[in-house]
């Protein structure tokens, strides 16, 4: 199994092994101008990249391109050597947590989490969800309506999905540390370390430098591609 063929051989690869994400010559358009161009990025199993850059340089746009929500102006994104548009395993092997929490205001924390787990094909059983909420420190608030939670608690609820992951998938996180207190940051870092140890990969943005408890990350400055 190689990572350089362009045929969809990903069906043969076991999820435990992880795959490489590659962005080749990526360019992003915003309105009438190019936000960035010529971005080349490679993320191998077990690696973490901290995407940094000044406000407005396109960090969120790059994440959305990598994840497949937007189409690049030029260039392409490859997962295990195949373009993500043609890959039938990419959706399942990738977890995207955007800036917005995707929690429904009118549902309880556990109901919101269960919905996300279900549509992403993850274990949505009560035990799994309880365990996940415990990992992010929300086990006491699992039946609370999301609207009643603080910003930090909602962020933790959004990140609880990460605790449902047990395989070497790709995590794309937009400002995961946002609104979290020190304890919350510690919990997220623990999840990241575990994930990288089992061969998963992480691509995240953060406007502040990841703290001491965070796993080692390669810095990628998007600002130099503007």
């Amino acid at each position: 199994m190689t990572a350089t063929t362009t045929s969809p051989t990903n069906a043969l690869r076991s999820p435990a092994q992880g795959a490489t994400l590659a962005a080749v010559d990526l360019a992003c358009r915003r309105g009438n101008r190019l936000l960035f161009r010529g971005v080349n990025l490679e993320l191998r199993p077990g690696e973490a990249i901290w995407l940094r850059g000044h406000n407005g340089c396109g960090k969120t746009s790059l994440l959305r391109l990598v994840v497949g929500l937007s189409v690049p102006e030029s260039g392409r994104v490859l997962w295990a050597g195949a373009p993500i548009g043609e890959s039938n395993s990419f959706a399942h092997e990738r977890v995207y947590i955007g800036h917005a929490n995707a929690m429904k205001d009118d549902l309880t924390v556990i109901e919101s989490l269960r919905f996300l787990a279900r549509i992403h094909g993850r274990d949505s059983g009560v035990d799994a969800l309880h365990a996940a909420l415990q990992r992010v420190g929300l086990e006491g608030r699992r039946d609370a309506i999301v609207r009643t939670l603080s910003q930090g608690q909602r962020r933790r609820a959004a990140l609880a999905r990460l605790a449902l992951e047990h395989t070497a998938t790709l995590w794309v996180l937009d400002e995961p540390y946002d609104a979290l207190d020190a304890e919350g940051i510690g919990r997220v870092d623990a999840l990241l370390l575990e994930h990288l140890a089992r061969g998963g990969s992480v691509l995240l943005t953060s406007h502040s430098s990841p703290g001491g408890g965070a796993p080692p990350m390669t810095e990628f400055d998007l600002g130099r591609f503007n």
């Binding site: 358009r29 309105g31 009438n32 101008r33």
Partner: protein, 247 residues
């Protein structure tokens, strides 16, 4: 090789701009001449109708306008689809440029249709099946224009417009059929030519001239509008800057 080159040659906004600029004066001239000829034949040369007298002459504007309104809608949907599927900016701009002219012809068809029906029915509006379908077509045009102008991001606007236009084109036959059904069920009014089975040659000539005139006019206006759109969208490119500094 040369064959493939020609298909996409004018997909580049700069080349389209140049082509349109070269053709427009001729198109305008053609439109004016054909219109004058058509109106002359239609209003002065063609014979008086046996049953409708002279008021029927409005059909020389009404029928070509109605045809244009339908043709332009299909063209609009076609170019919007091409622009979306082939990622061709100029095609999307062409679709946007077609819409206002299509709406104008639809309105013209409705207005002249009203004039046509007045002597026959005594009212300014009749729910004739074809007129009603034209009215709905006007709504479809207005909907498209409203949608693409509400979306700030031009690429999203182009694509959303394409979806709407394609769905509209599929719906037009359904709408037309249902309106005809509705009209016959309720014994609605019909405006039509009750002239002799064989239309006088001059009448056909007038129709043809007016249709061609409208075609030429439509090309000229749509090209001009598309040129304006190209200038606006491509304002940061070299060829537009060169044009601006030349003046």
């Amino acid at each position: 090789m040369k064959g493939t080159l020609r298909w996409t040659t004018f997909a580049a906004p700069s080349r389209f701009y140049a082509l349109a600029g070269a053709l427009n004066p001729w198109l305008w001239a053609l439109a004016v001449l054909l219109a004058l000829a058509g109106l002359y034949v239609g209003f002065l040369v063609a014979p008086t109708d046996a049953t409708q007298g002279d008021s029927y002459r409005i059909i020389f504007i009404h029928v070509p306008a109605a045809w244009m309104s339908m043709v332009l809608y299909v063209a609009m949907a076609f170019w919007a689809a091409v622009g979306w599927m082939l990622n061709a900016r100029m095609a999307s701009m062409l679709a946007r440029a077609l819409a206002p002219t299509g709406a104008l012809f639809t309105f013209l068809a409705l207005w002249t249709g009203s004039f046509w029906g007045k002597p026959a029915w005594g009212t300014w509006w009749v729910w004739d099946a074809r007129l009603t379908s034209e009215l709905i077509l006007l709504f479809l045009y207005l909907g498209y224009i409203a949608l693409v102008s509400s979306i700030d991001d031009v690429v999203r606007g182009d694509k959303a417009g394409a979806v709407l236009a394609i769905v509209g084109v599929i719906n037009v036959p359904i709408i037309y059929f249902s309106v005809r059904w509705w009209n016959t069920l309720h014994q609605g009014a019909t405006i039509s030519m009750t002239a002799a089975p064989k239309m006088a040659h001059t009448m056909l000539l007038a129709m043809l001239l007016m249709t061609l005139a409208f075609w030429a006019y439509a090309f000229a206006v749509v090209f001009t509008r598309a040129q304006a759109l190209a200038l606006e969208r491509e304002r940061d490119t070299d060829w537009v800057r060169a044009l601006a500094t030349k003046r």
